[in-house]
Structure formats: structure tokens, C-alpha cells
């Protein structure tokens, strides 16, 4: 308590810098407090609403029901199996989709003629809702892991190709001119100039793909799977266990946030020294 009081105690009036820091700190604390209060208010309101009969627990469950289901599923041990399954599928399709898109972009950068040929196909594939390809994946790859991965990759690979290709083309022409004057080959240009200068765009693509890969994998699991968070959502819906649906939703939200934060951390590490022009 004493430590907390010290944190809030205003410093000496004469020390302008200390007062500035103190005001900044107060602001940070007030924002955090407001965020936590909002969360508690929402959860508390939900729970109280259910207990007082304002909210139908059959449709909207309640925080206590979700929490007890969570504890039950953890003690039974199958929740981690579902989380692991979905997280693995998402991670693999996210990585393959991003890497695949970058490789395709590299190939069409190296062969401009091919880029022109493929241009309309890429535009059409990009405009198309990839989840509509689901039935095709199931008939070609079977109702399982392969189809789910295919969905996750399909949804990320085209947009990555387009973003990376335009990033490769937007490289500072002075850098290219200089490297050419040094006698650089096409391959030198790519690995020393073009790829490194496109890393900020690659990170941006990663950030978008984290979200997209979750969409692909969850939809994939809706269609075919026998395990995973998407499966739990659709199963919970079919047996009208909305507590299970909401629990799975929360877990998806938390896992997706963790992956996004991991990419944000990567961004901070990789782009430490770049300035924005």
C-alpha cells in the first residue's frame, strides 16, 4: 500500500521533469484502470444479468458456466488437444502461405513476362472468396488435415504474392542504380537490396496473415474436422451447447492475439534501425 501511495504521490513542485513524468505515469495508470474496469463491468454485468433473469443463459451462457466448463475440460485433458490441433494448423498454414506468396512474388519479379501473363489470374484469385474453394479441397485432399491447411494457405498466399510483388517493385531506384554500378547481378540485387528493403512489407503481410490464417483454419475445421477449436464451435452449436461455443471463441481470440503479439515483437526486433521516410 505504501509503495502504491509513493507511486501516486506528487513530486516536489520545483522539479519540472519529475512532475512531467508523474503526470505521464498518472495517465498510464488511469488508462489501465479504465481498461480493467471495463472488462470487469462487462463480465460482471453479464453474470448479474443472467442471475437476475434478464439474459437467457440457454442462448448466452454466463461467465461462471464458461469458467466451470473450462476447468472441467482442462481436468479431463482434451481441451489442450483441441487448442494444439488448431494452433498447429494455423501456424503451418500461416508460415507456408507467407513463404509461398513471397516465393511466387520472387519468381514473377525475376520474369516480368510471366508477371504480365499471370496478372489477370492473380487478380481473379485475389477477388475470389477462398473459403468457397472448400468443397474442391475436400474432394482432392480428403476430409482432414490436408484440406484445413489448404484452406489456411489459400486464404493467405495470393494476398502475400500481391503485396510482396508490389513491394519488390517499389524499391528505391537509387539503391538499384548504385548496386548495378558496383556490377551487381540480378541475384545480388535481389538478396542485397530488394529483399531486405521489402522486410517492412513482409512484416505487414505477416500481421495480416495471422488473422487470415485463423479464418481459413476455423472455416476448414467447420467443414471437415474431428478436433480443434473450429470443431468445438460447430459441435457446440449443433448440440446447442452455447457455453462450449463461447469458451472456444474466447480461446481463439486469446490464441490469435498471442500470435499477433509474436509478430509485433518480431517487427520490433527486425525494424529497430529503420526510419520511416
Amino acid at each position: 500500500m505504501k509503495a502504491f501511495y509513493n507511486l501516486l504521490k506528487p513530486p516536489n513542485h520545483a522539479d519540472l521533469y519529475a512532475r512531467y513524468l508523474w503526470r505521464l505515469r498518472l495517465r498510464e495508470i488511469s488508462i489501465r484502470l479504465a481498461q480493467i474496469s471495463l472488462l470487469l463491468l462487462l463480465i460482471g454485468g453479464w453474470e448479474v444479468g443472467v442471475r437476475l433473469g434478464w439474459i437467457d443463459p440457454f442462448l448466452f451462457s454466463s461467465p461462471s458456466r464458461i469458467a466451470s466448463l473450462f476447468v472441467q475440460m482442462i481436468t479431463e485433458g482434451d481441451l489442450f488437444h483441441h487448442i494444439g490441433q488448431t494452433a498447429l494448423e494455423t501456424l503451418i498454414s500461416f508460415l507456408l502461405g507467407t513463404a509461398g506468396g513471397t516465393i511466387i512474388a520472387t519468381v514473377i519479379w525475376a520474369f516480368p513476362w510471366l508477371a504480365r501473363v499471370l496478372d489477370p489470374y492473380l487478380v481473379i484469385l485475389n477477388s475470389m472468396p477462398k473459403v468457397a474453394l472448400g468443397p474442391l479441397f475436400i474432394v482432392t485432399m480428403g476430409a482432414g488435415f490436408g484440406s484445413i491447411l489448404a484452406m489456411g494457405i489459400a486464404i493467405t498466399i495470393i494476398i502475400t504474392t500481391l503485396v510482396m510483388y508490389s513491394s519488390f517493385q517499389g524499391v528505391n531506384p537509387d539503391h538499384l542504380k548504385l548496386a548495378r554500378a558496383f556490377g551487381a547481378t540480378q541475384w545480388d540485387l535481389f538478396r542485397k537490396i530488394i529483399f531486405p528493403s521489402s522486410i517492412p512489407d513482409l512484416i505487414a503481410a505477416l500481421k495480416v496473415n495471422v488473422g487470415l490464417a485463423w479464418v481459413g483454419v476455423i472455416v476448414g475445421e467447420f467443414l471437415v474436422s474431428k478436433a480443434g477449436l473450429g470443431y468445438l464451435i460447430i459441435y457446440g452449436f449443433q448440440v446447442f451447447n452455447l457455453t462450449l461455443v463461447l469458451l472456444s471463441l474466447f480461446i481463439v481470440a486469446i490464441c490469435a492475439t498471442i500470435m499477433y503479439q509474436a509478430v509485433a515483437y518480431l517487427e520490433k526486433r527486425l525494424l529497430r534501425h529503420r526510419w520511416t521516410e
Binding site: 537509387d174 542504380k177 548496386a179 548495378r180 554500378a181 558496383f182 542485397k192 522486410i199 529503420r274
Partner: protein, 265 residues
Amino acid sequence: MVASSAIQLDNVSKTYISRHNQVTAIRAVSFCVKPGEFIALVGPSGCGKSTVLSLIAGLLQPDEGEIRLFGEMVKGPSLRTGYMLQHDGLLEWRTVAENIALGLEIRKEINKQRLKQAHALLHELGLGHADQYYPSQLSGGMRQRVALVRTLALEPDILLLDEPFSAIDYQNKLFLEGLLNAILQRNEMTAVLVTHDLEEALAMSDRVFILGGQPGAIQRIIQLPEEIRALKPLEARSHPLFRPLFHELWQEIQQPHSFHKEDIR
């Protein structure tokens, strides 16, 4: 064959062709630069100064005529030339030390000894302490000095400078001019400077080539007197003969030139 010229252009023409038009940048340009000589190319925008430089650097191929460096035909970027641009072109993701090694890496000439020489040069230019910094931590003048080290690390015989000092402040510009002048003389390098700054052209070079017209051609050559050439760039600016030369150059550039539009369809 013993070559008496460092750079020799023989009847060189270059036309840029795009879908909508074709523009002849330079027509039938011929000149020689002796080893160790410093020439400046001046003239209005669009007279083909930078085209001449890119041709010498081997970044462009002439449509007609030929270019020789120390007697050898230019067919692509030569190991004997070093090229510097208005923008330093430092790679933001590399440290200063990594940036100055870029040219050596690309030419596969990287070794301990060459890197040591490059670092010695960095020291000489007052940036010895900065080799682990990133470009975003340096000022404009410091960045251009790093770019200079990167070019000189390749030990070129011919230095090609495309307005290298036009984006930095006046004080740094004078400082860098003096530094470059000293390095060129010590290493007996040949240099071609493209600039808009007439004072800079006169203060640094042995001869000033005035390009004009469209397509561009050499309109006149001003030979700097020995008294001025012997001086450092800063001192040259205050020599009594400097002002009259400046006015002469200014008059020459002001003259209207004949325009040839026949190439634009």
C-alpha cells in the same frame, strides 16, 4: 595498346525510347579525359549530363559511337569506375561498417585488408567512431561521407560524381569538396563531376564542359588557369580570376540554344 586517355568518348549518341515517344539525349559527343584530370559537366536540365555519366559508368549502352576507359571498350559496369549519386543511397538496415562493405561484397573483393583500408578511410573522414551506427543515426553530411568511403573502398581509377553535394548544407559541402580534392590528388584519380553549381564546377575541376541543346552536345569547354587549379576548392573561390570565369560561364549557359524537335514523333 597504350592508352593516353582515362576516358574517351567517340561520337557517342544515346536515344531513350518509350511507348509514347523517343528522345535523343545526346548526339555525337566526343571528348577525352587525361589520367588524373578532373572535369565538370554543367548545363541546363535535360541537356544529357547524367546520361553521359551513366554511359561512362556502363549503366547505359550508347546507340552509336564508343566509349573507352584506359583504352578498353565499355560494355558494362567497369571495375575501374566508382559512382556516387546525389542521394547517399545508404541501406538503412546495414550499419556504417556494413554499408561501406557493400561494393566490396558485390564485387567479391571483400577481405581483411580491403576492409581495413576502408576503415582507415572512414577514420580519415572523421567517422571512425561511427562504424557501428545505423544511417538513421547520422546527419546528412555524415551520410554522404559514408557514401564516399563506400565508393572509394573499391579503389576506383575513375570517380563518377552525379551531383554528390547538392543535397547537403553549404558548410558540409565546402568541407567535403576539400576532402575529396585532397583524396583525388593523393591517389591520382580521374574524376567526372556532374553539377548544377557553377561555382563548384570551377572550384574543383581542371576543365568545365558546358553541355547544351536538345539533343545535348558540348557547347564549349572552359580551361581553368593553372593558378586556380593549384588551389584548394575553398581558396580557389577567392582567387581574383575566379569571378570573371564565373561570369563567363554564366553568360555561356544563358545563351539560347537551337532546338531539334525532329526526334519527337
